[in-house]
């Protein structure tokens, strides 16, 4: 399979909203920003109206940049073409990356800059990965991951 260096053009473009703006602003500056509960320290991804750690709906919110390092938790290879705008991209890997800052904190990604097989050959759970920011538009840079070397 050819190496994917980008998933652009994105058939589905992320939209920055009031709840998520710090993430997209951070991505534009090359930072992976997540929502931290400053009461219990739990990192929430994506942002949600309560803290997933202490379950407090009135938690004190803090946007923090994390390292962008993690490991592949699991993956699948999308072969189906039922998503408009992705028909020409199949097959492609979809990963869940566990960030090193918090056990169980899973971020979705594709796998850029690595040659893998159509059945995921070469992709290993536990492999070390790091974030890169894939330009989707002048304002939106999508957090993506590549293997750490």
């Amino acid at each position: 399979m050819p190496i994917q260096t980008t998933m652009a053009p994105y058939g589905i473009m992320p939209v920055s909203t009031a709840d998520t703006k710090p993430i997209w602003d951070g991505a534009k500056e090359g930072k992976l920003v997540v929502l931290k509960c400053s009461d219990c320290g739990f990192l929430n991804w994506p942002p949600q109206p309560w803290c997933g750690g202490c379950k407090n709906p009135d938690f004190n919110k803090e946007w923090v940049a994390v390292s962008g390092r993690g490991t592949i938790y699991c993956w699948y290879i999308c072969h189906d073409t039922s998503i408009t705008g992705y028909e020409e991209k199949v097959p492609y890997a979809v990963l869940l990356v566990e960030l090193e800052e918090q056990k169980g904190l899973l971020v979705m990604s594709n796998l850029l800059n690595f040659e893998y097989g159509t059945l995921g050959e070469g992709i290993e759970n536990g492999a070390a990965v790091e974030v890169v920011f894939d330009k989707a538009s002048d304002d939106i840079f999508v957090p993506q991951f590549q293997l750490r070397r």
């Binding site: 998933m7 994105y10 058939g11 589905i12 473009m13 992320p14 939209v15 909203t17 709840d19 998520t20 739990f42 990192l43 929430n44 991804w45 994506p46 949600q48 997933g52 750690g53 379950k55 938790y73 699991c74 993956w75 699948y76 290879i77 999308c78 072969h79 189906d80 039922s82 998503i83 408009t84 705008g85 992705y86 991209k89 097959p91 492609y92 979809v94 869940l96 566990e98 169980g104 904190l105 899973l106 971020v107 979705m108 990604s109 594709n110 159509t118 059945l119 995921g120 759970n125 989707a136 999508v142």
Partner: protein, 398 residues
């Protein structure tokens, strides 16, 4: 403490009815609903005027339809209009998509036990109109949480399960090839189910292993086929059931998924999903006073094949991490030691969102399952809903 019912008021299945389950059936599901309900009421030896409660988990969990659109939804308002009801006193329509088909049964049981109604119809449709691609995602923008999943091209049928499946395969050293043990069994059972969409269309292990990939490690046969069909059951209380031809399946326990264990992330980890599933199963057993070893009529949701392994472990039927070895025909087949999903389940019968399991459990407990009837029927369980979602109940033969 097990849940309790007033003397004579244990809810019980007394009738079951179904249409064929077919791809693109050339008739409305209003007509299908009328046929299935009429058959279930007749099977119970009752008349339409006896039915005084209707219970439906109605959300089609499908496609580009407005809430309540009668072309796709079969909700209470719809069912009320397509039959000449005379004495309806009470109805409930649980709304959470993830509650699953068992939630209609749970609602009916609670209403019957409390005396809000005396004879309940519980009904469910599957419906997939021709000309619409299933699960098509055609928006070109994603806001909210979807902004963190859909831009990655995530969301094709079964993709939410493909991630936990791959995690399972990796964690427990399981092989995708072992899944034929379940998929083949489901298709075998469907050959004994006259209504099943796969009856008469047998597939081989090679067909399975070489099938079109959807979200690898899952292929087309790991996903249930969207189709048309309606299943219905009638329930009443123990005292009234004595006057019906074949009551069976007395409600003993129930539970719903423990979402309080959810944390955060683009998806929950396999470990977290396992904890949720086991907590629900444990609650069901505690509410009934029975345990896994007592259950001889086993149903777990199989809208996507990997869930079968995960639910088998959560309910304690298979050792943790071992379901991929355990769920093979010599164990789970109709002649095996632990028959599973005797109707063919979602994968063999067709996608009626788990109600096939409800219908089959009712028929097994009533002794009306025909060529699929098990000899040993004492305790039955049903779980409906994807892994990490859903609801469940436990019934007893006597």
């Amino acid at each position: 403490m097990p849940m309790s019912w007033a003397p004579g008021k244990r809810p019980v299945f007394v009738g079951a009815g179904s249409t064929m389950v077919r791809r693109y059936m050339p008739r409305s599901h209003s007509a299908n609903a009328k046929d299935a309900a009429t058959a279930a009421i007749a099977d119970a030896g009752l008349k339409i005027e006896d039915i005084d409660g209707i219970f439906i988990w109605a959300d089609p969990n499908w496609g580009p339809s407005a809430v309540g659109d009668p072309k796709v939804w079969l909700d209470v308002a719809h069912v009320m209009q397509v039959m000449p009801w005379k004495n309806i006193k009470f109805w409930l329509q649980p709304e959470a998509v993830a509650a699953g088909s068992c939630s209609g049964i749970q609602s009916a049981a609670l209403a019957l036990g409390a005396g809000a109604c005396n004879y309940a119809l519980v009904i469910r449709t599957g419906h997939h109109p021709a000309g619409v691609r299933y699960r098509q995602i055609s928006s070109n923008r994603a806001a909210g949480n979807a902004a963190f999943t859909q831009p990655y091209g995530h969301g094709v049928g079964g993709s939410g399960q493909a991630v936990s499946y791959q995690a399972y395969l990796s964690k427990y050293g399981a092989k995708r090839e072992s899944m034929w043990g379940y998929v083949g069994t489901a298709h075998d059972n469907a050959q004994l189910n006259p209504n099943a969409v796969w009856k008469g269309r047998e597939i081989t292990q090679d067909d399975y292993l070489n099938a079109r990939l959807i979200a690898y490690p899952m292929n087309i046969f790991d996903n249930d086929m969207p189709c048309d069909g309606v299943h219905a059951v009638v329930m009443t209380t123990e005292d009234r059931a004595k006057n019906t031809p074949h009551p069976g399946g007395y409600m003993s326990g129930m539970a719903a998924i423990n979402w309080e264990l959810r944390s955060t992330g683009a998806a929950e980890t396999l470990e977290n999903l396992e904890d949720m599933g086991k907590r629900m199963a444990d609650n069901m057993y505690a509410s009934s006073g029975f345990s896994a070893k007592d259950v001889d009529v086993k149903h777990v949701y199989d809208g996507f094949s990997p869930m079968v392994w995960m639910w088998l472990e959560a309910f304690g039927f298979a050792p943790k991490g071992e379901a991929h070895r355990w769920a093979q025909p010599e164990t789970i087949g109709l002649k095996g030691t632990d028959p599973l999903n005797m109707s063919g389940g979602n994968l063999g019968n067709g996608r009626v969102h788990g109600f096939t399991h409800v219908l089959e459990c009712a028929q097994q407990m009533m002794g009306t399952a025909g060529p699929r009837q098990l000899e040993k029927v004492t305790v039955g369980t049903v779980e409906t809903g994807p892994f990490g979602n859903g609801s469940c109940f436990l019934v007893t033969k006597e």
